[in-house]
């Protein structure tokens, strides 16, 4: 059974269909890439899946359970967590406190939460920043912090929204390694990305969205050689 089933999900804002009849499955332990030109509806889909707002139509099934209309905190407690396209550090709190907030979803003890937090900081290699104020971090570390914080909630599936956006090649490479490490631990991931090379390397399967609709899905090779996908990005057939 797929860990996450997206069934005919549509989201309307007034007359605008931000998502239109999108369906696909994500299988446990895999990485699903979600790509598409700007405005295709990728973040909207994430928002619908994680309860930021409910889908207008269709169903989101996670681990066999219908998620429509559940509040974001319930979604997180059930094991689905996301990061944000525009990073959201808890600026006035330290790095470790940020991650602890995530860990506190699973424990009431500050001591245990701190241990869990330090573990995740090790994973993203930010232990040297433990007591640093999150608001003072450069963008690359903010992104890593957000991943660490999400991981601390002990999710079963991690949704990453353009986690490599704005990073230089070295930083992106670090994130790619991180994503692959996370996969090794058995976590399922769905990754929105614009960096094609990265998506090709990490994804087991890719879903392509354009103008709110699912254009196609398949393995990285299938998707990248699909002429419709190419013209969706470039606007004309590419010989």
């Amino acid at each position: 059974m797929a860990i996450l089933e997206i069934k005919n999900v549509s989201k309307f804002f007034g007359g605008l269909a931000a998502n239109s009849d999108v369906s696909f499955d994500v299988h446990e332990g895999t990485i699903m890439g979600l790509i598409g030109p700007n405005g295709a509806g990728k973040t909207t889909l994430f928002n619908c899946i994680t309860g930021y707002y409910p889908p207008s139509r269709g169903e989101v099934i996670f681990n066999g359970r219908r998620m429509n209309g559940l509040d974001p905190d319930k979604v997180c407690m059930l094991g689905m967590v996301r990061t944000w396209q525009k990073v959201r550090p808890l600026a006035k709190l330290s790095v470790v406190d940020n991650v602890m907030v995530g860990a506190l979803a699973r424990t009431g003890s500050l001591k245990v939460a701190r241990e869990m937090a330090m573990e995740q900081l090790k994973v993203v290699r930010m232990e040297h920043r433990t007591n640093f104020l999150a608001g003072g971090l450069p963008i690359g570390e903010r992104k890593k912090l957000e991943v660490a914080r999400a991981l601390a909630t002990q999710p079963k599936i991690l949704l990453l929204d353009e986690v490599m956006g704005g990073l230089n090649p070295a930083e992106s490479e670090e994130i790619i390694q991180l994503i692959l490490d996370i996969k090794q631990r058995g976590l399922t991931q769905m990754v929105i990305e614009h960096d094609m090379k990265a998506i090709m390397r990490i994804s087991d399967r890719i879903v392509v969205l354009t103008s709110g609709e699912k254009l196609t899905e398949g393995s990285p090779q299938e998707v990248v050689s699909n002429p419709d996908v190419i013209s969706a990005y470039l606007g004309e057939p590419h010989a």
Binding site: T50, Y52, D71, P72, D73, V75, C76, M77, V81, R82, W84, R88, P89, L90, A91, K92, L93, D97, M100, V101, G102, L104, A105, G108, L110, A113, L133, R149, A150, T153
Partner: protein, 349 residues
């Protein structure tokens, strides 16, 4: 010596000192000043939990202060119920008020929340004026005779001097500081601050926003109502503008703004500045000093003007302080101190 042990010992010493003061200080005026200080700290710490830590800036905390004050005074005045019983009624009433306010106001963000909190406090104040059978309307409630507090058959105090009020005030300070410390070092504190920093991010990390905001509100409201009840029995008189007015709400906030929101000692610092300052103005201390030092002649127009009006100027002072702090020290004194400490830490690295 371990830093924490050092800090703890200093605090214990301070507490011991404060406990002993009434033994050596007899002046009712000095005790009165300390009581005002304690009251201010209690008010500030209570607001701080909701406003400083959870980031919900209520500008209507007078609602809780006033309900606490009125409940205690009404019950004592019309039913002869002792204030240490009436206080519980005040707290219960405030919980109800807080939950209603929470359900309305917490859906709103930022400025809308502020406006709603002010509107609620105003509704309370106007209701107190209009519901004359309950509250005696604009005339207020005067009740200066307190029953004696007995444990068994022994009279602990009959509230004749200021000393019992001093200890109650000190108790409130320890209570509110204690609760703040506990919040700060618990899951509650982390969640409050997460909500303050980024509500949507917090939501996505498993935090039930409505639940925690309401916990913060109820906690803050109950402590504020205690301060209100204390004020009522100490002063012996309550009326709508004094305990339910907008300036009460602003004053409570001010204590935290100046001292530093979201910090344990911020409200203490803020009170240490505001209370003596406003008292100095109120009691013509400043004018007398100016005259004594020869800077201003007592008979001159300036002198007479100052003598007559400076005592009313403490609210003007509040306004000036707010503007100055917001423009130059938006994190309050504690924030300023912390920034200096951080800068030194970073330079040392």
């Amino acid at each position: 010596m371990n830093k924490r042990v050092l800090k703890g010992s200093v605090i214990l010493l301070l507490l011991a000192g404060l406990l002993l003061i009434p033994r050596f200080v007899e002046s009712p005026y000095a005790l009165h000043m300390m009581i005002l200080l304690f009251l201010s700290v209690a008010q500030g710490q209570s607001w701080n939990i909701l406003g400083g830590y959870a980031g919900q800036h209520s500008v209507g905390h007078a609602a809780y202060f006033g309900v606490g004050a009125y409940m205690t005074m009404m019950l004592m005045h019309s039913k002869g119920i002792a204030p240490w019983v009436g206080v519980w009624a005040g707290m219960a009433a405030v919980v109800v008020v807080a939950l209603i306010i929470g359900s309305i106001c917490f859906r709103l963000r930022g400025p809308y929340f502020v406006l709603a909190s002010i509107a609620v406090a105003e509704i309370m104040r106007l209701s107190a004026i209009n519901l004359t059978t309950l509250t005696n309307g604009a005339e207020g409630i005067l009740a200066t005779e307190l029953p004696a507090f007995k444990i068994g058959a022994t009279v602990v105090t009959d509230f004749v001097t200021k000393v019992p009020f001093y200890y109650i005030g000190l108790f409130l300070v320890v209570l509110t500081l204690g609760v703040t410390y506990w919040v700060q070092h618990s899951k509650l504190g982390y969640y409050f601050q997460a909500i303050r920093e980024d509500q949507d991010a917090a939501h996505s990390l498993g935090i039930n926003i409505a639940l925690y905001k309401n916990i913060g509100l109820v906690l803050s409201a109950v402590l504020t109502s205690l301060a209100g009840s204390f004020y009522g029995i100490y002063v012996g008189f309550v009326d709508p503008p004094t305990v339910l007015g907008l300036d009460v709400s602003v004053q409570i906030m001010l204590i935290c703004i100046i001292g530093g929101m979201g910090t344990l000692w911020g409200p203490v610092l803020g009170s240490l500045i505001l209370v003596p300052l406003s008292e100095a103005l109120r009691s013509n201390l400043v004018t007398d000093l100016l005259v004594k030092s020869g800077a201003v002649s007592a008979e001159s127009r300036l002198g007479l003007f100052l003598k007559e009006n400076l005592s009313h100027a403490h609210v003007l002072l509040y306004g000036i302080l707010v503007v100055l702090v917001i423009l130059f020290m938006p994190d309050g004194l504690m924030g300023f101190v912390k920034k200096l400490a951080m800068r030194r830490k970073r330079e040392a690295v």
